[in-house]
Subunit: 427 residues, 2 copies
């Protein structure tokens, strides 16, 4: 088999951990598999480099850092700055790739590290958040054919001019899936410090169980559970190319969670697969919005222009020629959203008011079977009402029911739903 | 003018120093010059990376470190290891290049960092000690034409297969000279923490003076003075391509020392230009060597095979069919040299004995004029004898007289010669 294995920043965080990764690589190779390994930077290294850049730039540089160096601001100077930031932070993965290759050699394996131009991973021109466009497989195949374990620096690529780009936080997962897709690997293993994806966060519900299989769609909807173990963009890429992804522990050899296409998953599996909690949303309501064409477009157009991603949107039925529009945005964008909206002609020229609430959270139940099973939403509402949890917003998709509730009830709601849908029972 | 400026590891050792370099770059650009900057890794960074590699490899890795990770040992595993070492340590210069480019941008300058494949610096395949073979000027010219300050990661290149190579310790000087040669720059400025090249080491002779001009040949012979400020290989490259090199302080704007071809240097300049002290040599004597063809070839052939560089060689006149051969080797290679020689048939089968002495040092007086001035060597011997310094070995070249003396008299010999040739007097 041809396997792609990705080791995250904690897995290569110390020299001891790197040696442990090397042992695992040598064992995998000894089982007869061809092996491509993708590594992140050693834990803390990316932040060290970003801190250097921020300190270098002084007070206003630190401000820039505060809103996150990965915010893609417009303007020439910023683009030049972001180019340099990518050239800078991409060194972190290069260091861990060389160290892992050395450690594998030390343990008797044949290994070579490949970075940037050697790897031939081409991307678009979006510094700090690029997308992979193609992979040159020539060098990779040559090294694999020579029997070597190929260790690739994750998180980075080259734009058409040869500038270094990075793929955004967690981009090494995307590197791994892209390599698995490009090489038609049999599986992409994401090795991490947890055993797999759970039915819900075990810190909230101790009875949470590890899932054996999930579909790509379910994993995407369970983003808040999965985000800690793999980048969602990588799941989308895996779905697009049909790459089987295996999320498992780097510390043991137990099977983890397979993320596969629906046809592969056992159709007898329960309808609801997991419960996800997202605390990082905030709610905005615009009251008395004139119910005329263009009102809603004006609101969401303004937010989109500012790069604010709106999640749930609810518009109540019109009453007296006006309506209320409620939606959620990332909590970190709440202040900016309210500022943006208050400058709208719509708000300035009518009796529209802006209300906002950061003390909310979103709970989602996810499962592919849902689209053919009536009553899942009704069951969820009943479970929550039994525990006196008030539902502020509801949104449904074919494989998901999300509700917004008061932040204080978030964990209770997770436990209620986990229990109510029997997720703690063995399959 | 088109200038290439090289900043060493101390000059970019802290964020404050990087900001100071950036100011200097912006000022140089404001004077209307086109500017290519070459940077070393931040002081300590290369050692940090090498230490990581050594610790990773454990006890025998540390041994490998002890004899220096830059020793080019034979064997496949070592070559794979050295490849990874180059991939690893080359990240240090990439980090400082990005940081300096950011700092220049911050101060209002236009700058871009170029690394590896972007720079197109091609080398041979000798990992850890590669030689530059060619430079793609396309991207460099494009960025210069766009008015940008181009900041290049020094010390590294790419072999024909695209593997990263490094140029050996101090290789950033060579990068700078190679870029200056490739771009036909008007000068290559080596910015360092001293004011230039001195007539001798000021810590030994406080009356040492800064030299305004030196020829390439003089600089090469004054290696032990120059090695602290620039790599000798870079001077050879500058001589080959006629690149004027200007060694000067990064902390002030004073003129430093120009290293130029003989025709440019003032022919009225004094005969002796500088006195160099080398403490890192050891002396080996083989007594009673049979005076037959092939004896000497056997000795130096064995040492060359072991990669030991022999400096001075003296063979006395033959007496009773045998002779004594004395030579110097680097002190660190003394033990290995003696071991190597003791296995020779010559030694095993005759009455030849091996004597060695590490407690010696070599003092050299250097100056281009020497070749047309008789009596310089005689004057040197007289000066030394006046201070009762016994001369153990003598070697002369067209522009140099070197003597080997007891280590204890090294500094006294330097002061005697510095004074004896009037080097403390203003030109």
């Amino acid at each position: 088999m041809l396997l792609v294995q990705k080791f995250g920043g904690s897995s290569v965080g110390t020299l001891d951990r790197i040696r442990a990764c090397a042992r695992r690589c040598v064992e995998t190779r000894a089982q007869g598999h061809s092996l491509v390994v993708v590594v992140s930077a050693m834990k803390g290294e990316t932040n060290r480099l970003i801190t250097l850049a921020n300190e270098l730039l002084g007070p206003s540089g630190a401000e820039r850092g505060a809103k996150g160096p990965y915010v893609n601001a417009a303007g020439g100077e910023d683009r030049a700055y972001q180019r340099e930031l990518d050239q800078l932070v991409s060194t972190g993965e290069k260091v861990s790739a060389s160290l892992l290759a050395m450690a594998i050699q030390r343990q008797g394996g044949a290994a070579i590290s490949l970075v940037g131009h050697q790897l031939g991973m081409k991307t678009d021109r979006v510094f700090t958040n690029a997308r992979i466009t193609s992979i040159d497989r020539g060098r990779l195949h040559a090294e694999l054919d020579a029997g070597k374990i190929v260790v690739c620096a994750g998180f980075q690529g080259l734009d058409p001019e040869g500038n270094i780009t990075t793929l955004g936080r967690g981009g090494s997962d995307t590197s791994a899936v892209a390599l698995a897709a490009g090489l038609r690997a049999d599986a992409c293993e994401i090795l991490t410090d947890v055993d797999g994806v759970y039915t819900t966060d075990p810190r909230i519900e101790p009875r949470a169980r590890k899932l054996d299989r999930l579909t790509y769609e379910e994993m995407i909807e369970l983003a808040s559970l999965g985000a800690k173990v793999l980048q969602i963009r990588s799941v989308e890429l895996a779905m697009q190319h049909g790459v089987p992804v295996h999320v498992r522990s780097s510390l043991n050899n137990r099977e983890g969670t397979w993320i596969v296409s629906e046809s592969v998953r056992n159709l007898q599996a329960p309808v609801v697969r997991g419960v996800a909690l997202d605390r990082n949303e905030a709610k905005v309501t615009l009251t008395n919005v004139p119910d005329v064409p263009g009102s809603v477009a004006q609101i969401f157009g303004a937010l989109a222009t500012s790069g604010i991603v709106v999640d749930m949107i609810i518009q109540n039925a019109s009453r007296d020629g006006s309506t209320d529009v409620t939606f959620t945005v990332p909590e970190k964008d709440l202040e900016r959203s309210v500022q943006q909206l208050s400058t709208l002609p719509l708000v300035a020229e009518s009796s529209t008011q802006i209300l906002s609430d950061a003390a909310i959270c979103k709970i989602s139940i996810v499962g592919v079977g849902m689209r053919t099973h009536a009553g899942v939403a009704a069951r969820a509402f009943e479970v929550l009402s039994r525990d006196n949890i008030n539902i502020q917003m509801v949104s449904t998709s074919e494989i998901k029911v999300s509700v917004v509730v008061d932040e204080r009830y978030g964990e209770l709601a997770v436990r209620s739903l986990h229990d109510g849908f029997g997720l703690d029972e063995a399959t």
